[in-house]
Amino acid sequence: MTDLALVAAVLAVAVGGGLLLRRRGGHVVAPAGAPALDAGTRALVAARLAHRWRGAVLLQVTAPGCATCVAARRVLDEVAAGAGAAVLAIDAAEVPVLVSQQRILRAPTTLVLDGVRVRGRVAGVPDAAQLRELVGRLL
């Protein structure tokens, strides 16, 4: 393989792979059986949101040094504002039970809460349209 072809191949694989990952990351999936939050996380969310916890909540699990969390948060704020839902960001370290129960592997991972049930989850920067559609069905 000529050098130039090799470089082109490396660039194509790296960038192509990245773009694909980014698209997969945005998909909103509905976990089977709408699992309920564990007691600890429930208490934490209740404490942080207080009176704002009325309907759907977009719970973003973050980690330090997570650059995409900022971009994801913007999508969440936008969707929540349009739908009257609440947004709460929590560091993964604060909710270890949630992280292991929901098998959260990536930061950011956003859980769409309907009351205490997890109705949806998105890894990375959410697809705004899909998220809006799910939240709209809940409220």
Binding site: D3, L4, L6, V7, V10, L11, V13, A14, V15, G17, G18, L19, L21, R22, A63, P64, G65, C66, A67, T68, V70, A71, R74, A92, A93, P96, V99, S100, R106, A107
Partner: protein, 141 residues
């Protein structure tokens, strides 16, 4: 310290260009230059990053506008460390007479820096975040 999210992407683009040139010309000195650039950012902090400073200069001279968002510097700085290790390893391999391995490692850095420049996806930052999560999980259990 919070940094302009565009900084690491611009630096990655320059890094990619430098390393592609080094690879195509098989220039160990140019590779060594890039390894040194990684070292400065990794060891002294992003404030001293040569390409980062070029970007800051560009912001002063050109109407690039305010940062669209800022991010903590920890992830990108860790990526500089990873770049230093992989590109540095490549340099050592080339110097030790294993150019296949050496330039292969350089191409890995080419791929990852291109990824960051074009898509904003920082693999090093993801590793850093995963490392933090693992440490916190260990502390919690």
């Amino acid at each position: 310290m919070e940094i302009d999210v565009r900084g690491p992407r611009v630096s990655a683009a320059v890094t990619c260009a430098v390393l592609v040139t080094a690879f195509l010309t098989r220039s160990a000195p140019l590779l060594a230059f890039q390894v040194a650039v990684f070292a400065v950012g990794a060891l002294a902090g992003l404030r001293w990053s040569p390409y980062g400073n070029l970007f800051r200069l560009a912001k002063r001279l050109l109407p690039l506008g305010p940062p669209p968002t800022v991010e903590p510097e920890a992830g990108p700085r860790f990526s500089q460390v990873m770049g230093l290790l992989v590109a540095g390893g490549g340099l050592v391999a080339v110097a030790a007479g294993a150019p296949g391995l050496g330039w292969g490692l350089v191409l890995v850095v080419v791929g990852l820096s291109a990824l960051l420049a074009v898509t904003g996806l920082c693999v090093g930052c993801e590793f850093y975040a995963a490392g933090v999560r693992l440490r916190s999980r260990g502390a919690a259990t």
